[in-house]
Amino acid sequence: MGKSEDADKIGPFALWCLVAGGMVGGGIYTALGVVVALAGQWAWLSFLIAGLVALPSAVSYCRLTNHFGRSGGAFEFLEELERKGMAGSLSWLLLIGYVLTIALYAFAFGHYVAFAFHGGAVTTRVIAVVVMVLLIGLNLLGVGKMKMLEIGTVVGNLVILVGLAAYGIVHFDSHALTSGIEPRPLWASLIGAASIFVSYEGFQLVSYEYEQLKSPRQYLTPVVVSGVVFVVLLYMAVAIGATSLAGALTVIQQKQVALSLAAYEALGLPGLATLTLAAAMATAAAINSTLFSSANLAARIAKDRELPALFADRNDKGVPEAGVLVLGVMATVLAATGSLSVLVETASLAFLVTFSVVNAIACRELEGQGGLPLLGLVVGGVIGIFLLLRLFISAGPALLGFLVLTSLIFVGRPYILERVKLED
């Protein structure tokens, strides 16, 4: 390997930024209001509990990626274990999870930008659609991955969020955590954790870039773990700080733009403007990187004949066009029509299933290292039950749709693949 080739690779700092940015990018901007509505004053504990699934899952992802030495994440792990059918079905489910996540980020982008300009519901949806069209276009032109810009955005975003959390904690008012709402029991934190699990999904995008990493065997696990721990602590601090500033009732009633209101309470219009800029850049970067990674994952899956061949085709810029267009358009439609809670929670379910599979593989494959993955499986199982209950009770049609789609994937995927052109 030449020196210049190695210099182009992702070093530890850039990797840390991609991990933290991938998670924070859209997560906290959309999750705070949802989790405070469910867990009230225990919102910070919900983030900790969800973190107890995310952290072991991150360790499992890193160890398995190093173990197999290839990009591809959960899909690759199952392929290596000769579980092709399971790999295909899980990858389809994962792609649905990414579509939901991209839609969620676009939804958040629309809300934060529209709120700053007093835009209404229609303006919000229009902005979400416009940003999606722009980012689909940019990806098709081959500028989907701009690492330096992404790193700059992540650093700026983290500085603003840390500042907001610190300001809120310095001005901490314990009564604001239940301001205007009925206090919730401690166990409600499990419902909260279940509903916002999607906030932690971003770290696993780096498992698709294994070949681009500098010395992954040395850096991957410690860097990803430190990134996840940082994000867990940041989410907990933002949950306490922002709710302390805006008050629980306001965070819930304005859940789509809860952090904007907290920033407005802290610093008035300059705070609102800064936070809106941070939210817009973070969510746009998150849409961009998720669309780029998921389209490339689709191309990788198509190469292994688990998706139609057209997903593997690349345009003259090397971009998997069909993946960008199909996934991007599906996310755009959802962003234009979906509701925040349903998007957050259905996406959470898709990632909870995926992470559980990865933890189960880690338990089986990594001898003597099964303790953490087992913890991830157990806590993931508990919050999975709460998530299913929550969706059953509050979003029955969305849960039914998700279950029907998942069943179709597992049962109908081989049938579909028999009838479409696959990669030679």
Partner: protein
């Protein structure tokens, strides 16, 4: 120099500390008959379409009990913080049964806050923040919908929708120019004009239009109330 550092740090922290202020709370009733509202150890007799003055309970979690002629209509607890101002609205129908089945309890638990509509049309309370995302010197309008016969309503001015609200919910404050305004209240989807409301808000005020319904006729009425923004 070393001895000055802790003093400087204390001075900075003191400068950053929020001004301590007592929370302010007022009560509004949209019920057809007088009710007694016991809140934070104080008892208030509330007549229909009446708002109390602001009073200042201690910050923390306080309990609330609504009764009419000795009959308990609603009971809840909620938190109030030091710097916030709240309007607590009692609304619903005293004759409507309060759902007490397991399914309703589960729904309330798993759907969290903001699910007042799940209690049907029984008597309940909504809490409105009076000083969230508002600027001093500006003028705002919001709508609270407590008319049991209507699913959702919207407020129009010059045929343009200014704001809307579902049953049991309040709209977010919308900025308003001071001066005379003429609004029409309509059903959200049916375009059925329900009421005409004239307002003349001033700078630094938040006006709330509470929509409820007349006893007997079931026709909607609007009760407006203004608070000074602080």
């Amino acid at each position: 120099m070393k001895t000055k550092t802790p003093l400087m740090l204390m001075a900075i922290l003191l400068l950053m500390a929020p001004a301590v202020a007592a929370p302010h709370l007022r009560l509004v009733s949209l019920l057809p008959d007088p009710v007694v509202v016991e809140v934070a150890g104080e008892s208030h007799l509330l007549k229909p379409r009446q708002s109390t003055e602001f009073f200042s309970p201690h910050p923390g979690v306080i309990s609330l009990l609504v009764t009419a002629q000795g009959r308990q209509l609603h009971e809840t607890r909620f938190g109030i913080s030091e710097t916030a101002r709240y309007t607590l609205v009692v609304f619903g129908s005293p004759d409507a049964p309060r759902p007490q089945d397991t399914w309703t309890a589960l729904k309330q638990m798993f759907e969290g806050e903001g699910t007042t509509h799940k209690l049907g049309y029984s008597v309940q309370c909504a809490i409105l923040r009076d000083n969230a995302y508002t600027e001093k010197g500006k003028c705002y309008l919001r709508l609270f919908h407590g008319a049991t016969g209507l699913v959702s309503v919207k407020l129009l001015e010059d045929d343009k929708t200014r704001t809307s609200a579902d049953y049991g919910k309040t709209s977010e404050p919308v900025p308003l120019e001071p001066g005379n305004h003429h609004f029409t209240l309509e059903t959200q989807d049916g375009h059925l004009p329900l009421l005409e409301v004239d307002l003349a808000p001033k700078e630094g005020e938040m006006t709330t239009i509470f929509v409820a319904e007349e006893q007997g006729t079931g026709l909607p009425y609007a009760f407006t109330s203004t608070v000074e923004l602080r």
